[in-house]
């Protein structure tokens, strides 16, 4: 189910039984982050093994959004799965670099690469 919250849209997509993609569109900030947290938790609860978060259409990502993604990485790892980030725009790659989070996140340029 697609969920919209004014400035953030999160659309889950199944690739196979164990693999899901969340396509994000818009701004992830202190207002919209609870929506992203819920969507990630839903996938964790569903027992998904590989969760890809597609950032291609994310226009804004703040520390709240980063915190949710870090939390998602931990939750997935706890249940033996992985959370991978796909196709971050240059601005967001820059944020990963300057915060050092590029060492915590698995980032892939394309969905195919993230699935390899």
């Amino acid at each position: 189910m697609e969920t919209t919250n004014m400035n953030l849209k999160v659309t889950p997509r199944s690739l196979d039984n164990d693999t899901r993609v969340l396509d994000l569109e818009g701004e992830v900030d202190v207002y919209t982050a609870p929506l992203l947290r819920q969507e990630i938790m839903d996938q964790v609860d569903a027992g998904v093994k590989r969760l890809l978060v597609n950032l291609a259409k994310v226009e804004y990502l703040d520390s709240t959004g980063l915190g949710i993604l870090i939390g998602g990485v931990k939750r997935m790892r706890e249940q033996g799965g992985v959370l991978r980030l796909v196709a971050p725009p240059p601005r967001i790659t820059r944020i990963f670099d300057i915060t050092g989070l590029n060492r915590i996140f698995e980032v892939h340029a394309t969905e195919a690469e993230a699935l390899a």
Partner: protein
């Protein structure tokens, strides 16, 4: 003392005097709540967008201001029923943009702050790190009447 009074008292002269000695001043006051941070970011785009900053610099400023607001909103979240506000004051000068983000959220002692979950804490730390990196100068002060002021400076001269 109520939070409202603290905010008014701590308020710089922005609203009364929009232009001071060639420095233009733009002020914005929003409720200290998640749904208004987007409004602040748009207003900051309007201010920084006219100053000759690059696209990346403008986005850096927007994110830094967003982080300061978010920090205020998260601190306000620990005070049930609080009716707080955030005052954002932009001082526009040829060589720099100075933005003060001031809230009237009562300052927590270390224990109360430490009560947050691990995830929240790293988020707040991240916000502080981002501010430090994204703008040229950052100063965070606790205001005498309660509340916090973050002062961010970005120089137009980086504009290389």
């Amino acid at each position: 003392m109520t939070g409202d009074v603290a905010l008014s008292e701590g308020m710089p002269s922005g609203s009364g005097r929009p232009v001071i000695n060639g420095t233009a001043v733009v002020t914005l006051t929003i409720p200290c709540a998640p749904e208004y941070v987007g409004t602040a970011r748009l207003a900051i785009l309007g201010v920084a967008g006219r100053m000759g900053f690059s696209y990346d610099q403008i986005e850096d400023i927007r994110l830094a201001v967003g982080e300061a607001c978010t920090n205020a909103i998260e601190r306000a979240g620990h005070v049930p029923g609080l009716d707080a506000g955030i005052n954002i004051r932009c001082e526009i000068q040829a060589e720099r943009l100075t933005i003060e983000i001031e809230d009237n959220v009562p300052t927590m002692n270390g224990d109360a702050a430490g009560a947050e979950g691990e995830e929240d804490f790293s988020t707040q730390e991240l916000g502080a790190v981002l501010m430090e990196i994204l703008v040229d100068e950052v100063a965070i002060d606790t205001l005498p009447g309660g509340g916090t002021r973050a002062r961010l400076v970005k120089y137009t001269a980086d504009n290389a």
